[in-house]
Every structure is written in structure tokens, then in C-alpha cells.
Symmetry: C2
Subunit: 354 residues, 2 copies
Amino acid sequence: MSSAVKRFDYQQLLQWSNDCLEQAGASGEIARNVSFYLLEGDLLGFSTHGLIRLLNNCQWLRDGSSRAKGQPVVISERAAVAHWDAQLLPGPYVVPQAIESAINMAKQAGTGTVVMRRSQHVAALASYLSIATEQGMVVSLMCSTPGQRAVAPFGAKQAVFSPNPFAVGVPSSAQPLLLDISFSMTAAGKVRQAKADGVNLPYAALIDSNGQWTDDPTTFFAKPGSAIGPLGGEQLGYKGYGLTLFSEIWTMALSQFGRRQGSADGDANSVWVQVIDPTAFGDEKEFLQQVDDLLEDCRTATPIDPQQPVRIPGERALQKKQQQLQQGLEYSESTLKVLNRCAEFTGIPLPAAL
Amino acid sequence: MSSAVKRFDYQQLLQWSNDCLEQAGASGEIARNVSFYLLEGDLLGFSTHGLIRLLNNCQWLRDGSSRAKGQPVVISERAAVAHWDAQLLPGPYVVPQAIESAINMAKQAGTGTVVMRRSQHVAALASYLSIATEQGMVVSLMCSTPGQRAVAPFGAKQAVFSPNPFAVGVPSSAQPLLLDISFSMTAAGKVRQAKADGVNLPYAALIDSNGQWTDDPTTFFAKPGSAIGPLGGEQLGYKGYGLTLFSEIWTMALSQFGRRQGSADGDANSVWVQVIDPTAFGDEKEFLQQVDDLLEDCRTATPIDPQQPVRIPGERALQKKQQQLQQGLEYSESTLKVLNRCAEFTGIPLPAAL
């Protein structure tokens, strides 16, 4: 695959994706945000949730699945929480707003929480974390997908849940800690990618209709299909199952928008945003020192492989971002196919590779 | 082992453990709380964090590692958060107070958070969840142990973290959802129990000093010892590692009391308590309906084994509680040894078995 990788200039892609979105009907502000945060996903290495999703975003704007202008509606508010209806505005437009609102509440109340129903697809949660960490704030993000069933509860071979991501951002004296994981054994995007690339998954993450674990991504698209296993797998999958229930309740039940309401909403998400102001608990420098100490303990722990020291979540993503900003963003052949389809859809040619 | 199980009356054990704690110096209110919540752990089936910890609690009260009277000190407060120094008061005394305080904040602000340093050992987080769920509140609890290193970061063979539990409680129209899991492949208490029982762990949860995975609990007590692996193991341990960092930052870094401060504090914990008032986001009945719908989807998912329908977290624990309240609490031979040592320590004989 790597032989077919091509590189593209960041600024050119930003302009191109912005133009595609505007061509599909987005307001200038929406186009700027969606293009910026999709590219941020690619920069950080979340290639299944980066510009590969631009075509979807343009299609949704064109067919009305995504609103092209407007603002989220506030359903309810208290000093430290708000409940918004995002009315199918694009996730990369409403999530940063929710984080900013949560930051403002946290500065006053210590924490700020925004629960949001009907955000159109949020793409990579990791893309948004630095909005909070750059202001010295601690943040956690979760989302779920009322229109999707892909992950089985522990002990089941039938999908009930979406593969829900959980992301946290924490400032330190140096780089922030950026974590973005799912509570399942893999993400649906990775299964799609493996099928597109014609390869098996790196391990048996799926439970097929016979109740057997498998690494074959094609089983996921069969009828009846396989389901993604919860984190922890055969032995400890009750933990991933519990964490998935946690994420579905904190997103869908609190926003009162679950699978009975949003089954026809495609990739739209119910979203949890919580910001914590560490200075509500004490001195900022002391907090940063605590984070530094913890990360130092990890970095200096004896590695299993002496050549592979322990990494901090986000470390490699931030390296990748710097590298791609300098040398261009890398896209695989299968992703380039989707980008070229977006160029056809909008009539705006993809910039030339570097 | 089950041949050696004995049963004891709940009320008699409650009185006995209360008397032991008072004999060790605890105030009446502290004795009542510690005995009640340790027994609650046993009732729910968390036998490594139940009355087996009474001897420790009595010893700590006697030698001053745990304070026998007093109240937590408020370090800082905002509308939705508080930071408390528990001053080594017993966990089962201060955690319920922190939850009540968080409930009061949540009723006003939508959420309430209490971060607490220097709580003496909190035992089973599951024991406290119903304080919130019985008031219609959603709750999450986490703790970490500055004096303990038992869990390795992903890619390391050296322990850095404590095996941190994460617990959530959610009301439904029927029984609440009660989840209490660790972010590691097992808990230190389970490794101790396996060693005491002379059995191997049910799977390879430990990484030995050669970097090999093992199910042998004796390796954990060797020099150099093995470390508990993060949830996700060899393939997905970066997820358990990330979740452990999340729990250590939300507990130790926010309370500004980590391993540089509390390395000599034994089993004392840094604690995170967060309560969410679902009525801050909308109608209470609609929230309960959302939870009911989600749990119904889990219960009716096709099981891998037709004889084993999918269970809801807490379901078996609440059954076990009802059963043990009626038929007596069950204790294994190895736990009874510890209870008898506590009887000797305090001079108060253990009640007779049923």
C-alpha cells in the first residue's frame, strides 16, 4: 500500500475542501470549520475520520441531511450544563462551539458540560481536544450514533451499540496528552478500510453469526453480519460492554435522543462534552506538575522491548502532524479514490500531489 | 473451596463489625458507615473489598493511619465543584458525604463534582452508587492509590499505576445499572486472593520481569515482581493504558495529590465523584425511558450461548444481595481466617455461622 501513498500540501487541501463545502451549499463559517477539523483528523493520523469524510459531508449538505447554515438550539441550561439540539448542523461546526461554551461554564462553575443531540457526524474527536488544552483546560468528549448498530453487548452475537469513541485532552508543561479510543475492539471505519484494502483485521475483533470470533472484515457486511466485540474481548468484554453503556447513557440518554428517535439519522451523533478547569481545585502550576510527574513515570518505565520506550497518548499523533505540515499530508490509494469522487461531485479538481 | 463456605446473618455481622470499629477507636458515626459499606461490598459480591478489609480498617484506626473522628476539610469550591482533603478519614465515611455534596451541587448546577485527596481506603466503589441512583441521579466514581504501583503502562514490564476502579450508577424504571470495573486486566485484590487460594488466575493478566504474560499470581510478589497488564492486553492495551491515565489525572492530578506526595500513604486513595442530574437536560420520565430502551436492547440481543442471555451490569450483584440478606452472607475459608484475626485483634468474637 505504502508505494501508492501520495502527499499533498496542507494549505492547498484546506482551500480545496473549503471550496468543495461551499460549493455544496455550506456557509463560509461552516465550510471553514468542517475543512479545518477534517484535515486536523488527517494531520493527527486518524485517517478513517479525516478528509475521507469530505464527500459524505458535501453529499449531506446537498441532500439536506446536514444543515448548511444556522445555529444549535438550546433546549435547557443550568449553571454548569447545557443541552443543545444541533439540528443536524455539521459536527465539526457545532462541537467546537460546545467546547467553547463548556469552557466558559467551567471558568465560572469549575466544570462545564454540553450534551448535544442531532449533531451531524463529528469525525475524529481527537481533532477538537486542543481547543480546551490550549486554554489550560481538561476535556472529555464522547459520542454515539443512534442510527448505527455495530457492537455487541458482552455475551451476544448481535450488534446493539455504535462503536463509541472516548477522547480526553489534558494540558502538561510540554505537549498535551491527547487520547481518542473506542470502547470496542475496533472501529467500523477500520473494518471498512480493511475490506477496501482487501486485508484481514490484525486480530479477531468480530463475532460472527455463529458466535465465533473472526478477523475477516467481509463477515461484517454479510447477512446476518458479524458484530464488533466490546473492548476486553472473550475474557474481559464485560468491561468494554459496561464502558459502552456508560458512553451511550452519557450521550443518548442524557440528550434524550437514542435509537428509538434517531434510527433514520445515518451517521448523526449524540455528543457529550465536558470541560474541567483545573484551577478550580488549586494552583495551575501544581496541576501541570502532577501531569508532568505522571507522564515522566510512564516514559521512564522499563519497556518490554528496549527499543520501544513507552509512549504518551497523542505523542505520535502530534509528531505526525508536524511532519505532515512540513512534508505534506499522506493519502493512500483507497482514500484518494474517495477524494477524487468528491472532486467529481463538486466539480472542483483535487490539488496536484507534491 | 465452596465446601468450606459458611453463612452469617447480616444484622449480626453489622453489629459485630460496628463493635470492632468502635473498639479500635472509631466514632459512632464512622463505625456505622464503615461497617455498613464494607458489608454492602460483600452483599453485592465484591468479596475482595468487603469485610475482609475490616481488619485493615481497625488496624489503621488503632495505629493512626486512619483518623477516628473529624470531618474532611474543604480546600476549594465553585458552584459545581469542591476539592476536599479527607485527612485520612475512612473512605466509607467520606465518600458518601462527597456523593451527597455532589448531589446538592447537581440539583443546582446540573452536575456536581467532588475531588478528594487522602481518603483512607474506599473499598468497593459499587457500594456507594445507590446513594445517587435512589435520588434519581447519575453518578460516576473513580479512585487511585498514590502509595501503590501495580499496573504497567502499555509496552512496559514495570508497574507505574494502581489498579484503578471506575464505577457508574444509573437509575432506570426498574433496578439501577451498577457498574464497577478496573481499567486493568485484573485487580490486585484478585491476585492476592488467587495466591491465598493457591490457584492460577483465570487468564494471563500479568507481565513478568522478562516481559512475558503469565497467569501465575506468585510472580506478582517476586522481586522483581510482575505487573498487571492494562485492559486490552497485548493487542489493545493502549486503550486500558489511556483509560488508566484518565483515571489517574481525574483523581490524583486534579486533587494535586499523586505519587510524589502520597507514596507512604499505603492504601489511601485520591477520589473523583461526579453526579449528574438528568432533569437538568429534560424530563425525568423520558430519561428513564431512554435507559429502559437501551437495557431492553441489550437483554433481547441474540446471545452467543442460548442458555446465557445478556446481563445488565449490577443485575447479578443485586440478586446476590437479596439472596444473601435472606440466606446469610457467604464467606470462604480464606476470608474467614482474616475475619477471625480481626476478632482476635479487637477481642470481639465473630458471630456464629448460620
